[in-house]
Every structure is written in C-alpha cells, then in structure tokens.
C-alpha cells in the first residue's frame, strides 16, 4: 500500500484507490505495452499467449512475492537466485543420491531455501550486517554449495508426473505451477493488506525504531521475512525444476536484479515502508510481457536489452509522474 497524501478528492477517489491500490502508474505502463505488442505481432493477443506469459513469469513472480516483503521492511535479498539453485539441487540430490521419494525431496528443497533465509536473517539482525552484504554473502555461499552437491552437474530424469506439474494445463487453463503462483500472490496480497502481521512489516520499513517502540518485535519479523523469502525461492526452485525437467546448479543466475526491478517497477521503494503485491504483480507482468513480446516480434537479443532498459525507465517514470500529479 502506498502512503501518499490523498487529495481532498480522496473520498471520491476511494473506489479506484481500493481497486488499484495505488498501482495506477505501472498499470498504465503495462496496458500501453500490451497495446503496442498487439499491433506489432499478430500472435501476441491470444489466450494461449497470455497463458504462456503466465508460465514464463511463474518463477520470477514467486521470487518477487518474497522480495516484496523484504523490500517493504527496508531490506533487500540478493541471494534469491542462488538459493533457488541450491534448493533445486538439494531436491534433486535428495531424490537421486539419497533415494528419498520425490514429494519429500520437494518439501526438503523448500526447507533448504527457508534455512538459507534464516541464515541471512540472523546475519542481519544479530551480526548487524547490512542486508545487502548479508545476502550477497549468502548468494556466493549458496551458489558454491549448489555446485558442490553434484560437482556442477545437472540432474535429469524426473518422473513424468513431476514435469506435468508445469506443462499440463488443467481444463485448458492453469498448470499446477501457475496455480501455485496465483494462489501465493493472493495469499500474500491478503496478508500484506488485511493482516496485522502484514501491516507491521510496513511499520518496520517506515522506521524500525518507531516500530520497536510500538511493541513490535522487529528482529523476529525481520528474520521471518527472510525465511519466507528463502522458502519462496525454494518453491520457485521446485517450479523451475518441473518446468525444465531437471535441476541445474546454474539456475537463477542474475535473476535477483530482475526480481528487485519487478518489485520496484510495481511501486515499492527500496527505502522501505512502501510496496504492494498488486504492484509487484504488475511489475512482474511488465517484465514478462516485454520479454515475450520482443521474442514474438523477433527482436534480436542485443536490441532486446536496449528496449528492455528503455521500457523499464519509462514505466517507472510514468509511475512517479502520476504520483506527482496527485
């Protein structure tokens, strides 16, 4: 939720405010992008492609949920990509080398992610490391461990039912992984908007000292937020493994910047205290639609980079401008 001053028209504006939760700016960007691609490519505007985009943003989206919370409390999590890789490799290793049943390995994979988050959280609260450094350290360690598990080899050959989680679209619509993504978004959205615990995260990000004096256990919340972010990286890992039908130690390389970009495009502030799941969803979709559309149009990869950079800058400019106007 943004914490803008509402003009005296606030009461009249209440309806759109609730409907869009202050994400009008990025939303306009997303709509413009979709319109542009609809003209540029005949393949863009179709249910099938919309489902493809959802497929493609599932991993980014799940990571972005955790990142939204982390950014709201004024932190940052650079380790998500590496933690994803470590969770993925643990899952594969446990199933393959330790012979555990795959469902159990999946759960343990998620727990691996949570454990990484726990370490980050403890480094931040107890060793008082800046979040940037703590998660950068975990980023390096987790990537190393992910590689050490199998000496850098990927793990292939999961059972069919596992890949089907990502590939079979039930009733012609959502695959299991997309469903998980959507459900997680809704749960997180409700949590951040309507639960006291969720609201407390905004207070911590706004000013941790104020939050502490108001009786909030800032340390516990901080640690838990990083644990959730780690666990979500674990969920993303399972999703990605299903999608790729393999576990790869190089998975998620560099995805942390994409994730942070999605959250900030969605209106969150890296200073903390501001952000919303609705905004993050739009940010994630902007990145997803951009990549998908450029591929459909057949833009060369180098030129894609230029366009992506320009569009990100434009989208956020829209957002700040529209806020200013208010």
């Amino acid at each position: 939720m943004t914490t803008e001053v509402t003009s005296p028209r606030a009461k009249r504006n209440l309806l759109p405010r609730i409907a869009f939760g202050g994400v009008a700016g990025p939303l306009i960007g997303l709509v413009l992008l979709c319109i542009a691609f609809s003209f540029a490519s005949q393949y863009f505007l179709s249910i099938r492609n919309a489902l493809n985009v959802l497929d493609q943003v599932t991993v980014l989206g799940i990571l972005a949920i955790g990142m939204t919370m982390v950014i709201i409390i004024g932190g940052i999590d650079l380790s998500v990509g590496s933690v994803l890789a470590l969770s993925m490799m643990s899952m594969g290793w446990l199933e393959r080398m330790a012979g555990l049943p795959l469902p159990l390995a999946m759960v343990l994979g998620v727990l691996t992610g949570a454990a990484c988050g726990l370490v980050s959280g403890c480094l931040i609260t107890f060793a008082r490391l800046p979040a940037f450094i703590a998660t950068l350290a975990i980023m390096s360690v987790a990537r190393g461990l992910a590689n050490l598990l199998t000496d850098g080899r990927q793990i292939v050959g999961y059972p069919d039912w596992f890949t089907n989680l990502a590939t079979v679209r039930h009733l012609g619509f959502f695959s299991v992984t997309v469903t998980v993504f959507v459900v997680l978004m809704i749960v997180a959205g409700i949590f951040l908007r309507y639960r006291a615990t969720g609201r407390n995260l905004f207070a911590i990000g706004g000013n941790p000292e104020v939050a502490r004096l108001a009786g909030i256990d800032v340390r516990r919340y901080t640690i838990l937020t990083y644990v959730v972010s780690g666990a979500l990286a674990g969920v993303a890992a399972v999703t990605l493994a299903a999608r790729l039908d393999s576990s790869q130690p190089s998975a998620g390389l560099g995805i942390e910047l994409d994730t942070i970009a999605a959250v900030v495009i969605g209106g969150a502030s890296l200073v903390g205290g501001v952000g919303s799941i609705a905004g993050t969803l739009i940010g994630v979709l902007i990145i997803g639609v951009l990549r998908n559309g450029l591929n459909l149009v057949g833009v060369s990869p180098f030129f894609q980079m230029v366009v992506i950079g320009a569009v990100i800058a434009l989208a956020v400019t829209f957002d700040t401008m529209s806020r200013e106007r208010k």
Binding site: S41, Y43, R48, N49, N52, D55, Q56, N147, D151, G152, R153, Q154, V156, G157, T163, T167, L240, R243, L244, D245, S246, Q248, P249, S250, A251, L253, R291, N292, N295, L296, G298, S300, P301, F302
Partner: protein
C-alpha cells in the same frame, strides 16, 4: 617452469572458462580424474565466463609456478594475454576448445565444430526426408562455437533445399530456460515448425520442452555437445540426435599434452577431435562411459 622428468611432483594449472556450462565441467572433471591417476596436482580456477577474471587467475597460476597450463579461454574469442604471459614465464600452454588466433598455444585441442555440425545437418536432412520447416536457436552470438556450428549446419542445408529455415534467434547464455522461451515464441509465430536445431543440448532440451507443451507432435529436435542431460534425452527420444563431443578424451589428452610439454617433449600443434553423431541407436555406451 623448470623441466621435470617425473609427473608425480608436477603441478598443472587448469583455467576453465565457465564451470556453469556442462561441457567445460566435463572436461574439468576428466582432467582432474586423469591427474589423480597420474599423481599430478591439478589446480583449477573458474573464470565464470569473464576474460578479465581469467587473466587474473592465470597470473595467479603463474605466480604459483605451475609446470604447464591448460587454458580453456573465456569470452567470445580467446584472449592472447594469458598465453603471452605464460610464455614469458616459460610455462607451456595447452589451449582447449578455443585458441587465441594471434598467440596460439603450444598445442590446441578441440572438436572440429564445422565438420560436426555438417554431419548433424546431413543427418537431419536424411531423417526428415529432405522436407520441413527449420527453427534454429543459436548460442551466444560471436562465440567461436556459435560461428562454427552455424557454418557447418548451413553448409549441410545448402544441399537440402527442401528444408526451409523459418526462424533463427540467438540466446545469451546457452541456457535451457532461454531455449524454452525462445522456442515457445517461435512456435507461436510458426506452428508448422518440424525441426528444431539447438546449438547446444541445453537449448535443444528447452526447445523440446516447448514443443511438448505446444503439442507440436512430430518434431525433430537436435542438439550439440552430448552432455549427460543431452544423452539421456536422446535415449528417451526427447532429442532425435546430438553430436557427442569427446570431452573425457579431450580432458585426458589435455593433461597428457601438458605433462609432455612440461617434460620438454614434442606435441602436435593441432589436435582436432571428431564428434560422434549420437542417436537412440548408439547412445547406450556413451551413457555408461562418456567418451
């Protein structure tokens, strides 16, 4: 370094381009395994794809007085600086996969990518009956393997006019997820695609997965490298064929050459290896014992 007669007390430096790529990792493992058998100390460094890092790492290996250097260059084309630095320190260099054009190493070990890609292209032509719509997912633009594989495959396609190339797009990192997304977009633009040519097994695997999701039915997906995942996929029929590079052999050969050079023996300047066209019929032995 000083010339030594015994392999036992030798230290060989191994500078790998990027261990996140399975192909390089296979070679690394082979070199290390061979090193253990021969009692040679192998010191491995990984540049993570960055040539600047690699230059620093090789500087460190030289400081460490290695007896010979196995150099798998990072970056699009091989940098000559490490070779020159090693030569200055009188350390012999074995280049693998790519060779700096302006300062060639003492010996160069690689797969003949052009020839291999042509073999693969010819097989595709035969397999498809000389007809079909081809989609090509290239590797990282500008890298030697990308250029060579492009060249070899398109030579084969020249002799196969029935196959029409309908899509061609490059990836940034040779990665499976990229292959998947690019292929998915290609399928949307051209639902009649019948052949996918991924310039690495990872790209081909991504394309195969996209074809499966897109219910494309009968498509021929071929890759290159013959890494473990690729071979498994060939066995299960996900990939129709791949070109198996002899990574184990190349690793062994690299170490042997390095030892020989350190002992002051002669080694041929160029040691090009064949890649084996691998299909369901001949994949089994490769899976058991990678060449």
């Amino acid at each position: 370094g000083t010339v030594r007669a015994q392999a036992e007390d030798m230290t060989i430096g191994l500078a790998v381009a990027n261990l996140q790529a399975d192909f390089f990792n296979q070679i690394k493992q082979s070199v290390e395994k061979e090193g253990k058998e021969k009692g040679v100390t192998v010191v491995t460094v990984d540049a993570g794809g960055d040539s600047a890092t690699q230059v620093s790492q090789i500087q460190d290996l030289i400081t460490r007085n290695v007896d010979a250097l196995i150099y798998i260059p990072a970056g699009a084309t091989a940098a000559s600086v490490p070779v020159e630095a090693a030569k200055k320190a009188k350390i012999p260099v074995v280049a693998v996969d790519r060779n700096p054009p302006d300062a060639p190493a003492d010996t160069f070990i690689a797969t003949d990518s052009v020839a291999a890609a042509k073999t693969l292209g010819d097989w595709v032509c035969k397999q498809s009956g000389g007809k079909g719509k081809l989609a090509e997912i290239q590797g990282q633009i500008g890298t030697t393997p990308q250029i060579d594989r492009d060249k070899g495959f398109s030579e084969a396609m020249k002799d196969c006019p029935g196959i029409e190339e309908v899509a061609k797009q490059a990836s940034n990192q040779w990665m499976q997820d990229e292959g998947f997304n690019i292929a998915q977009a290609m399928i949307q633009r051209n639902p009649e695609i019948s052949i996918f040519w991924g310039q690495a097994d990872a790209l081909a695997l991504g394309a195969a997965q996209a074809a499966k999701v897109g219910n494309l039915g009968d498509v021929i997906v071929v890759g290159f490298d013959g890494d473990v995942a690729g071979l498994e996929a060939v066995k299960s029929g996900t990939l129709a064929a791949t070109m198996t590079q002899q990574t184990q052999l190349m690793g062994r050969l690299a170490l042997d050459s390095a030892i020989k050079l350190a002992k002051g023996e002669e080694v041929p300047a160029m040691q090009l290896q064949d890649a084996t066209l691998t299909t369901k019929d001949n994949v089994e032995p490769f899976l058991k014992d990678h060449p």
